[in-house]
Symmetry: C3
């Protein structure tokens, strides 16, 4: 890993944590959790994927439980959602349907951003720790998807990643690009950013055009 | 860590495990689980927080999967709930509402006891293993809250800790007291017990006066 | 551990992974997940228990996230369920009740097979890594039961293992046989296969005769 990439890794990591924590906070507010619950969901969504990543790689204690920059980012994110959402409700309490639709759309965009940076950063950290190539790809996907899955399971929902539009596939592609580039000695800043952009573009295209992975029952219902 | 504190740590740990396992067993009985399910929920609630703690700190295998004192405590606790609850139902089957209310109250007190000792013991173990100060505080909270969260998620409920009265905040305060005292070279038996008492008092005050952390939707509904 | 047993361990492991992944894929199809979701549930059910095992034993990264043989087995299993189930639905879409009953029965047999090999293989891996005897027994049970529990919790169901017929008890017996045989220096291929057969027989007997562990509420309702 070249030196400048480490700084990019930190910046990307903080960006992904921030936006994923926002999505976690929003889910927490919708589940009618209290301030602490919203903060926990922000933490789980923002840092849960990275904590699973570090535990799987044996990098304990995970940065997600002690790095002040990460914890501070999550805390600010959770408080923003809590404060912003409260005011938002006051302003628009007469149009609850519109409000919920907008929140739902925000969650999708934030998820796409978090997904992109986490897949790339997760794979990069696994490469740094010398894990096998296949492990690096899977760790990238798990980093990207794990926080959101924990977030949904905690509030009793089947994880969105398992049933909605193409979600983990772009993460898989992005992590693979990073790992292949590393093995080919071609990993640099441009590749990193390109991989992030690639994941985001695929994911948002899936959201925009409502592209879904095939489901078995859909096939059956057509028959 | 001074030597006598190690014994206190064991005693506190066993006490916390016992009462948390009782709460887990009660939740298991209410979820109509069989004897094995009740034992598993007792184990998850009693030792789950400590197992997460040890995994996060890299202290594997976690004591929660092999220490006979811990496993024996959980087993006795689960069997007590199973046997006691069965007789209790026979005696009072004509007044199911009263019975469930009493169980609910018991769970709250047991939870408060477990919460207090786990927050303090969790932080102490992290200090022993030389983790960063912030990690020690978070590990204390996770130890205190993790078992109960796993217990609730397994039976399909949104974790009580995320939506009810002030729950994790006292754990956060207690763990912080222990870590600050350690950094100031002031950690001794009195501080340990005072921290446990502090957490328990705050928590029971919250239960008694139904103190809640603020929720975002409540604010909105008032507007 | 004698050398030939290592190969048996691999064969058993792959067999258990395959059948457990089938059960995970079937649950995923029933929960109306998309292709990726079905693959994830196959992976969680097939390799989740082993991943928990490796994390608890500090054997990171877990083989379940990088071994191509394991990942390939899960992938093939998930795709088979997806393809087979789709065709199955087409053929029998007029008799949905029969179809679901058959799937349910298949899941039970597959679960029993996976349970048997995972309990034995899990305990053997813990023995290989020099864990305490009690840890080896529990790790065997956790390996056998963990994937199925994760599978059920992810789709929002109370884990089947906690409420249905005798499930974990045979795993406990099988893991204990392996650990005791190892401590008595009697562990060989015959013992390994006998332990697998023992677990499978007990489990299928429980399924066939609908044997249940006692439940506390049942006792109460009889009174």
């Amino acid at each position: 890993m070249i030196t400048p990439a480490v700084d990019v890794q930190l910046v990307l990591d903080l960006l992904g944590i921030f936006v994923f924590a926002l999505s976690g906070g929003l889910v927490g507010v919708r589940a009618r959790l209290d301030l602490f619950g919203v903060a926990v969901l922000a933490w789980v969504a923002g840092l849960g994927g990275g904590i699973i990543r570090d535990v799987l790689l044996g990098a304990t204690p995970p940065v997600g439980i002690y790095d002040p920059r990460y914890l501070g980012t999550v805390l600010v994110s959770g408080l923003l959602v809590f404060a912003f959402h409260g005011r938002y409700v006051e302003l628009r309490s007469s149009r609850p349907r519109l409000r919920l639709d907008r929140i739902s759309a925000s969650v999708k965009v934030l998820d796409a951003l978090g997904l992109s940076v986490f897949a790339v950063v997760g794979a990069m950290k696994a490469l740094d720790l010398g894990a096998p190539a296949l492990a690096c790809v899977l760790v990238g996907v798990i980093t990207a998807v794990g926080g959101g899955m924990l977030r949904d399971v905690i509030v009793g929902q089947i994880p969105e990643v398992l049933r909605r539009e193409l979600y983990a596939v772009p993460a898989l592609i992005g992590a693979t690009v990073v790992v292949v580039a590393d093995r080919a000695d071609l990993l640099n800043l441009w590749v990193v950013w390109a991989a992030v952009l690639l994941v985001f573009t695929i994911r948002m295209t899936a959201v925009r055009y409502d592209l879904n992975a095939p489901t078995s029952l859909t096939t059956g219902e057509r028959a």
